[in-house]
């Protein structure tokens, strides 16, 4: 254990304390929106930027890991904190996304939503601080304390509008599954300490567990962190909690909190455990692919814009775990270069997802602010009323669909390149099954494009489906700053993918012991070899813009630019209304038809003789009925059995106390 100098760790801890201080400062004038929102949140955004920069500093070539022991915590287990490249990467993620979200939140929160703005400010900043502490923790106790704080503060944030019963229910489900996951993580740490009863991560690194124990620790970690990340089948809280929370909180949860689970999984499997079982990677890969496909298919049939984004988050988390599984697989066979490639893909996708998912959630926040509608069937045509939000949302949509030259494409390209290298794996059945994983990955990516076209097209394009939408107002300047910051990062990181690879390189170096090749040119990336595959985001973007611009100018110069406006083509039927556009259900109908057996569909069709025909369709998750309701009923029955103990009569309780006293006397004497 090297206790070297800590030049950046101390300022970092000061910044985190500053966050908590800002949160408490919000309580001074709890009901004043002006002070809390316009003053404190922007300060919080600046702190986030500083945190991100310190995280970036830990990724620079000369940086060494910094360790510190704080005078807090238990008597024989004080808080250990550690800033190494892995922590630095996730701090960078937290800072970059958090800055944009905090700026947006400064312009977003209004009074009268159920919780006072000051209280909201406290919960929000404690949430941010706890996520930073999770990433920095170097012993199991601080990790669990920070993890629980994160869960609790986000619970309160989710139930901001606690007067509405559905939101309370969503919060309860979220807290329940978060705690089930926390138990898994705790048990995993318990197995990891391997009998030494030392709970610092350094001690766990030194342990060498047998294959059985290591596998148990791995499975517990996968289950525990998977519950927080939203892997199937523990995903049911995501589509409930993300729509229930206010939009900046949804952005923070979806963009950053899910990634802390990814961080935890990476820390446990690659840092604390020493992987030597190939099937760990296979399990993670399989669960990741299943989750990704599940999320994409369900996102395609949603009618609530935030639920759609929640399922899309499930899909992206599945993609990240697919990449992680691939990295573990390569690592266990000793193919370290390809493990580094897959791991880079996972890390970069985590960062990209934080940026574009937050952007999209914030855009839906603006839409909700302006129109009061979450239902896709009542939106439409907002590109004319809110052009700035629409433009930023377009950048986010293109990025999440994985289209070049934005940043989403870079991580998908890297992941596909990693899959292309799988036939090298020396094990017989495995090297045949994994290329099929590439096929499933390609399907998921294509389906994500479908979902995002539906999302953007139904909300922003077309004609307004409700007359009230004509009163929608554009977003305020603080909201625009937040959106623009995130969109700008998407474009810049897409044009300079070298930055992303360089940020991930120190992390892969420490975790798997190899980095992808840097390539000769600075404007292109060629992770394996330039002859095999090469990509340049900057030249791609320049190429497209160049050709488009040239064509436009050429057409205008040679011909003309005259335009006439008229009504659209109606095929001879002039009574078309805006309601005759595709609804959200309509746009998702091909997916519902092709993947019908994946859903549980309840349909109510009108008959030809109905005077006022109604069509109703309800699409549900099969896992809810098949897994969770029976589980809930079993728990209820068990609880009823145990409740017999609570007789209600005073004499019975006194009897219990008496029996316990007798038992203790017998034991001790």
């Amino acid at each position: 254990m090297n206790i070297g100098p800590t030049p950046s760790l101390v300022p970092l801890l000061a910044l985190i304390t500053g966050w908590m201080g800002l949160g408490v400062a919000g309580l001074v004038r709890p009901h004043s929106v002006g002070v809390v929102a316009r003053l404190i949140f922007p300060l919080g955004a600046v702190v986030a930027l500083a945190v991100g920069l310190i995280g970036l500093g830990a990724l620079l070539p000369g940086a060494r890991p910094q360790v510190l022991v704080l005078p807090l915590g238990l008597p024989d287990l004080p808080f250990h904190v550690r800033l190494d490249p892995l922590a630095g990467f996730f701090l960078l993620l937290l800072g970059a996304a958090g800055a944009g979200i905090s700026f947006f939140a400064a312009g977003y929160f209004r009074a009268g939503q159920g919780t006072a703005p000051g209280l909201l400010c406290l919960q929000y900043h404690v949430f941010l601080a706890s996520m930073a502490m999770v990433v920095l923790a170097d012993d199991a106790y601080l990790f669990m304390v920070a993890w629980e704080t994160m869960a609790l503060s986000s619970y309160f944030l989710v139930t901001t509008q606690h007067r509405i019963p559905e939101i309370r229910r969503a919060g309860f489900l979220y807290l329940l599954i978060a705690h089930v996951g926390a138990i898994g993580i705790l048990l995993s740490f318990g197995v990891l300490q391997g009998g030494s009863w030392q709970f610092t991560f350094d001690a766990m690194r030194g342990q060498s567990l047998g294959p059985a124990r290591a596998s148990i620790a791995f499975l517990l970690a996968l289950g525990g962190f998977g519950a927080k990340a939203g892997l199937v089948p523990m995903h049911v809280w995501l589509p409930e909690a993300h729509p229930a929370a206010p939009s900046p909180v949804s952005a923070l949860m979806s963009g950053v909190m899910l990634k802390t689970a990814v961080y935890g999984f990476l820390r446990v499997t690659l840092d604390l455990l020493h992987t030597d079982q190939w099937w760990w990677g296979g399990v993670a890969l399989g669960i990741g692919l299943g989750t990704a496909l599940f999320g994409a298919v369900f996102a395609a049939v949603q009618t609530d814009m935030k639920r759609l984004l929640a399922y899309s988050s499930i899909e992206n988390v599945g993609l990240i775990f697919t990449a992680l599984g691939l990295a573990l697989l390569f690592h266990s066979f000793g193919l370290q270069l390809f493990a580094a490639l897959a791991l880079s893909a996972a890390l970069i996708h985590a960062l990209n997802h934080a940026l574009f998912k937050s952007l999209l959630f914030l855009a839906t926040g603006s839409v909700l602010h302006a129109t009061g509608e979450r239902n896709l069937g009542k939106l439409g045509g907002l590109i004319r009323r809110m052009p700035w939000v629409a433009a930023m949302a377009l950048v986010g949509t293109l990025a999440i669909a994985g289209l070049p030259p934005l940043n989403g494409f870079v991580s998908e390209w890297l992941l596909l390149q990693a899959f292309l290298s799988t036939p090298r794996i020396p094990k017989a059945f495995v090297n045949m099954l994994i290329p099929l994983g590439a096929a499933a990955l390609a399907l998921t990516v294509a389906l994500a494009g479908y979902v995002m076209v539906k999302f953007y097209g139904v909300i922003f394009l077309g004609q307004p489906r409700e007359p009230a939408l004509a009163k929608a107002h554009p977003a305020g300047w603080l909201e625009r700053i937040g959106l623009t910051w995130l969109a700008l990062l998407c474009v810049v990181l897409g044009a300079f993918p070298r930055l992303l690879l360089d940020a991930a390189a120190p992390v892969t170096g420490t975790l798997v012991g190899a980095t992808v090749h840097r390539g000769r040119a600075t404007w292109a990336i060629a992770p394996i070899a330039p002859e095999q595959a090469s990509y340049s985001g900057l030249l791609f973007l320049a190429g497209i813009l160049g050709v488009v611009g040239f064509t436009f100018l050429a057409v205008r110069r040679i011909y003309h630019g005259r335009v006439r406006r008229t009504a659209p083509w109606d095929c001879g039927y002039p009574w078309q209304t805006p309601r005759m556009q595709d609804t959200a259900e309509g746009f998702g109908q091909p997916i519902r038809h092709i993947f019908g057996s994946a859903f549980r569909i309840e349909r109510e069709l009108p008959s030809p003789w109905d005077t006022s025909p109604r069509y109703r369709i309800q699409i549900e998750d099969r896992l809810w009925r098949a897994l969770y309701l029976p589980l809930g009923r079993a728990v209820q029955r068990l609880a009823d059995l145990v409740a017999v103990v609570q007789g209600g009569r005073l004499s019975v309780y006194l009897l219990y106390a008496f029996l316990t006293l007798i038992a203790l006397l017998v034991f001790v004497l």
Partner: protein, 221 residues
């Protein structure tokens, strides 16, 4: 890896063609199309057996190839086509599970067959040992077709295709079966088709259709 010889390339090509035909049979809805595909399968089998006979210099394989040509390319398809015409069973009813799912199952079976065949291929000494996995896959795919089809004629074509796969497996692993066995199998297949043809007429008379689900109503309740 040095480039494979011309013979090996052609054999690989034939094997791939057989696999392609088996897969196309899974997705084919028209009965007439199924029979045509079966005839093509027999033709490729003939070409492949002839090539092995030529390059390995085995005379008994020439006889097998000739038998395959006469029986599976001309005689059996003709019998089946005439049956189909007289029964007027041009179209198949919808299969039990829809076609994309059937094809996904097919791919799964192919992986299974390939994985199984790899250690066995290492033991064989023929020039066609790599194609053992494909032969196994053809057998399994034909079986899948028999399970998921409802039309009686489709099931017969599946049965015959399975026999094709078996023959191909024998050729690729051990340069064919003893002549007695081959003649016996060929005779069995021919007689089987004739008997099944009679059965088709009986089924149609009884139920007025060739949908085999009707046979379930014969069960005593």
């Amino acid at each position: 890896m040095p480039a494979p010889t011309l013979t090996a390339q052609l054999l690989n090509g034939f094997a791939a063609g057989l696999l392609l035909i088996s897969f196309s049979m899974l997705s084919q809805r028209r009965t007439r199309g199924l029979i045509e595909l079966f005839a093509w399968q027999g033709a490729i089998l003939f070409a492949s057996t002839s090539l092995v006979a030529y390059s390995a210099g085995l005379r008994h394989l020439w006889y097998s190839a000739a038998l395959t040509l006469i029986l599976k390319v001309f005689l059996l398809p003709l019998i089946l086509l005439r049956l189909v015409q007289r029964l007027q069973a041009q179209w198949d009813t919808e299969p039990l599970i829809n076609i994309p799912t059937t094809m996904l199952l097919g791919v799964g079976l192919v992986i299974f067959a390939f994985g199984l065949a790899q250690p066995i291929s290492a033991l064989a000494t023929t020039i066609t040992r790599n194609t053992l996995g494909i032969a196994l896959a053809i057998i399994l795919l034909a079986f899948l077709m028999m399970i998921t089809r409802r039309n009686a004629v489709s099931q017969v074509v599946g049965f015959l295709s399975m026999e094709n796969g078996l023959f191909f497996a024998a050729t690729s692993a051990t340069y064919g079966m003893p002549m007695v066995v081959e003649l016996g199998v060929a005779l069995d297949v021919l007689v089987g088709v004739l008997v099944l043809g009679i059965f088709f007429f009986q089924i149609r008379e009884q139920f007025d259709s060739l949908d085999l689900q009707n046979l379930e109503s014969l069960k005593e309740d």
